[in-house]
Symmetry: C2
Subunit: 364 residues, 2 copies
């Protein structure tokens, strides 16, 4: 162990995250060696420039990028094989692997659990990018046994990759990702599953709302089974709470269905429920992790031809206004789109005036 | 009644939808008169150019744009007051108002239920736009009593406003919007409500997934209480089905929490559930109501400075490639963004090459 500045890193598991770690560290001049149970996978990662293959090379740090199901056993093996190295992992669940390491009786002073929140819907080394972690959260989950030097070494490495490091205990982490990631995934799948038996006419009415709610329902069942199984305790707690809310809404909606004009308590329940959603939604931080900012949306009609959106955004840039966010709204059956440009309130009038001068149909 | 070409229209209710109808019809040279229980609301709509105020004017068509709770009574009053006019409405629920009209014993030959799917999160006349209905679905729900001439008149008017008209019965409509709109709204609120009690650290981990799932959770509780109450039967049926799915997943997750390594049936349940979401998600039509197209996403790093996104999209346009969709991915804590440009698969390589030549960091 050489303190917080690593010079050689061993990456075990060359999927999306492991290969991205290799690419990024290699780019910083660090000697990276690669390992994977699949010889073709490790060769691909090497050919992509993520590192070299040398099973006997020494290392300061081992990054285990194995699936949640096997990560603890791989960590234990690496701790044993590299008695002077710090070992970290990148699995998206933390408590269960830690329990397994305790069961294995491993000395955990050199182990630092980690989770970069940088997955993609695509997987594998071909999807890897050296900047995968840039600006992303990277959670570290040290225990009381973790040596401060080991923690600092992993923290420095994650920061070198551009990540924003935070420290939680494993259970806090798992509760957090259950609410912020795993429950939204389940909800998206639940809503999307209802569409299977909907009529063609019904799905033809789909607008931006249902598209947004169900976007992540397109994710990989195999990966998500591992994640939900690996965080079953925290996911179950959050889902039970969600079901309690659902039961309350459902009872209210049932009451309204039975007696539409005579269910004032039920109306109050529904209104309170939607308001609770408002309140939770407002807690999501804005761009770049800052406090939520209320942007003004400037809607502009955009003909569906190559270059029109570019022309619009060039005109936005020419107006000296920074675009904070952009949504494109699709319409059914007509070749015209609506772009909604989010800007700071102080910039909205400037933008509207400038775009109208350029002939845009602005609906602010 | 003058057949399918209206020359004078009375709009009753000058909120977002009624005022937009007035603006659009006025733009087509039709004589529009406006009415609203609120004198200030109707004056605002008039001043915005949506029509004139003349309670005694005759009309070919009455468009009732009143809230779901009162729409049937207003329709009945308008049918009585204008014995030669066709009457339609724009309420987002259809069965309950129709039941109420039956209860009132009204002759329904001149009534055509309607629902333009063109609401916005913003409301009121100030948010109105003449092109609100352009390219949007507009569902008509005639009954056996509806005269063919009345249906054609309302259809022609909706088409004049640029909408894509489809015809369903009221119950079909309500089942469709329950699945495509009302249940997604409930799910978004359920997920967002879980965020209320999450730790600051947890909400700091929020990524694009939870943002998309919960976007519509920011909607107005009062409006949504009326909608959910007005479609309580269909919403309850869809929510019960969703809860059955949730219970099955929850039982599986509970089993996995209790015996992580010994719950193969539970794993199969979870995997089947995520796969069902894949299947339902795939049924959502693509852009412009066409069959779903699988686009290729081209990810490009975009510095967070005014004009950078415009420069990127100009370069996309210069490459002769039509952008099908665009997502901007926000990162926490770092001033760099990732734009994902969706293009047809045949155009992807052209685009990647062209953007790299312009110096963009493309991660395809």
């Amino acid at each position: 162990m050489t303190g917080s500045h690593v010079t050689s890193v061993r990456v075990v598991g060359t999927g999306l995250v492991g290969t991205s770690v290799g690419l990024a560290l290699t780019g910083h001049g660090i000697d990276v060696t690669l390992a994977d149970p699949s010889p073709s996978a490790v060769a691909l990662a090497r050919d992509l420039g993520a590192g070299r293959i040398d099973p006997d090379a020494g290392c300061d740090l081992v990054v285990v990028a194995a699936p949640p199901d096997v990560v603890a056993d791989v960590v234990a093996a690496e701790l044993a094989a590299h008695p002077d190295a710090v070992v970290t992992d990148v699995a998206s669940v933390k408590s269960l692997p830690l329990q397994r390491l305790h069961t294995l009786g491993v000395d955990l002073s050199r182990y630092v659990g980690g989770h970069p929140l940088a997955g993609r819907e695509r997987s594998g080394a071909v999807a890897a990018r050296a900047d995968l972690f840039t600006g992303r959260p990277w959670v570290l989950t040290p225990t009381a046994e973790t040596s401060p030097a080991a923690l600092e070494q992993v923290r420095a490495t994650a920061q070198l990759l551009g990540a924003t490091v935070s420290v939680m205990d494993a259970r806090e982490h798992d509760e957090a990702v259950a609410i912020i990631s795993h429950v939204p995934q389940v909800a998206a799948s639940l809503v999307a599953a209802r569409l299977r038996t909907a009529s063609e006419q019904a799905v033809g009415l789909a607008g931006q709302g249902v598209r947004d709610v169900t976007r992540i329902a397109a994710s990989d069942p195999h990966l998500w089974t591992q994640i939900l199984a690996g965080n079953a305790g925290a996911v179950a707690r959050a889902l039970h709470a969600l079901r309690d809310d659902l039961d309350a809404v459902l009872a209210a909606v049932d009451a309204l269905g039975a007696r539409p004009d005579d269910a004032l308590g039920a109306r109050a329940t529904v209104a309170g429920f939607v308001a609770a959603g408002n309140e939770g939604h407002a807690r999501i931080p804005g761009k770049h992790g800052s406090a939520p900012t209320v942007y003004v949306a400037v809607p502009v009609i955009v003909p569906d031809r190559p270059g029109e959106l570019a022309r619009l955004l060039r005109d936005v840039g020419d107006a000296g206004v920074n675009l904070e966010d952009l949504r494109i709204e699709h319409s059914e059956g007509r070749p015209v789109g609506l772009a909604e440009i989010d800007v700071l309130p102080a910039a909205a009038q400037t933008l509207v005036t400038a775009l109208r001068q350029q002939g845009w149909s602005v609906h602010a």
